[in-house]
Amino acid sequence: MASVWTLHFRSLPLRIDSNIHDSSFDKMQPCPITSTNRIAIRNGISNLRSQLKHHSFNSIAKFHHRLVTSISMPPFLLNRNGGSNFPIWVCVAVVVLIAAVRVVSRKKERPGSVADLVRRGQLRSDRRGISRPLKYEDPFNNPFVKVGKSDSTVEMCGKVYRLAPVTLTQEQQATHQRRRSRAYQWKRPTVFLKEGDEVPPDVDPDTVRWIPANHPFATTATDLDEELAQNNVYQKHGVPFRIQAEHEALQRKLEALQNGEKLNKLVIDPSNAKEFERPFNSHARLNDQAEVNNQEQKPTKLVTDSMNAKDFERPFNSHASLNDQAEKSSVNNQATDFDSPKIDCGPNHVENASSEDPTL
């Protein structure tokens, strides 16, 4: 309030002065200005100034008095010296606290989340379980559906609906079936051929589906090996075919590399051999790596390329992890796969293991 008063007082004299000046000049205009009465005018102006000054002070004082008397001050402001400003500070503190809590809570809610949408009123929170999954009542005893005693009405969700009996008879169904059998003559296609392919001799031409040349099937797809695909679908246990095949191919590559090294009479570092044999022992691997680093100084020994070593580590991991997955027959769906991403924790996770191990 004090600031408002000062604003009023700053603007007040200017406005009053201008008014007074206007009125004074209006009064002076009819007077003729001559050389003989210049002194008198000067004296008059000085008198007028002093009058105006006095008048303005009076008007300001009156205005101030009127302002003070017009505004009724609240009692707690009037009694400020009485020491009763404690409730004010309590209110201010509560407001600040609420604002701070709201700011913090808004920062926690991510924009676009369901909770955020609910807060903005775009979703209702009472309709679906956002945080709580549905455990609604016994589906065998649904209280929301009640059939009337005469079977002519049904009450669903509080609204009563009139029921009409179904009048379809078996004769009408048979009539419709006959109509459709006459209208739609169709054989389900069993063979899909691209345009330009020849129809196999033992295939009914009516069951051939011709795929246009610009169809996505024809342009982008490759044919499946039917026997192999069928075996893959019916496989119930063990490592899937392709993973197994990739593993075997990499194993053959490793053996070929080892044989090639033997033929070249090169000495394979035993530490590297250990690395291939025991990929899960991270401690041993780290120790062995330390030994390798020491042995790298010796020019007579050949150390297998570390890149190749990494290449060979992956199939062992995947193979082992797949075996682990195959053993867990009860948890073989994707939910468990998704929930347990750390199944494959072989040498690819050496750094994590070393960081977690306090002994290292």
């Binding site: 309709r127 065998f140 079977d151 669903m156 003559q185």
Partner: protein, 302 residues
Amino acid sequence: MPPLQLLPAFSKPLTPPSALLQWNRKPQLSGPTPRVAVITSGKGGVGKTTTTANIGLSLARLGFSVVAIDADVGLRNLDLLLGLENRVNYTALEVLNGDCRLDQALVRDKRWSHFELLCISKPRSKLPLGFGSKALTWLVDALKTRTSSPPPEFILIDCPAGIDAGFITAIAPANEALLITTPDITSLRDADRVTGLLECDGIRDIKMIVNRVRTDMIKGEDMMSVLDVQEMLGLPLLGVIPEDTEVIRSTNRGYPLVLNKPPTLAGLAFEQAAWRLVEQDTMQAVVVEEQPKRGFFSFFGG
């Protein structure tokens, strides 16, 4: 063409027709298991995927093990409706290629562990030409004979729209079909054609679900009634699903309608349809319109 026979569901009704709704007990599974049902419509956007998700989860809630196969290869959405899109790591294509086993490609729902999802391929992967009816039949057969867990009691196949290669693939392993239609003439024409193709393929057990029914429009004669639809198609009714704005909300949230709390009209209707599917029952009466409330002011026309 073999001579047409009457539908087995009608030749031998398993439940007394007097019972409109039978709660207070677990539905009695009828027919040889696993039951393989394709959910198809012909026309797009009538609610095939929504029906698959909701009926599948309803069956799981009722205690039956369900595998839902999203056979809409190019435009798969079932994973989104179920909120499982982040958990699809392997698909049937990886199974065929030998990158994983079939049991690894099944995504188990954490809310209802009886429910599993199998996607055919990832959205941007190239589907080989060889993938077709044979491959889906192998997958269904492998599910029937799986040993890692008990074989499912229901296999629901979400069929793509149209009658192209995806439709041919999806209907191949099915024994029964759920035809989804809306009460408009475009959807009805497509539904009639698809029904004819299914019957030509030897699928006799076809039941109809009429979706997006609005009783207020039926009352104003702006929409065909369910009985009109049935008269045009001549198919037994499995369910009538009212139009519900909650469908869009549940779709966007990845939380199927039947899991709503409190339940919605459409969710209850899906639940009843699932109940009838288990018992191979059909609707004996349909909802026509909302009954006007009778009170003191109704005397004055209020």
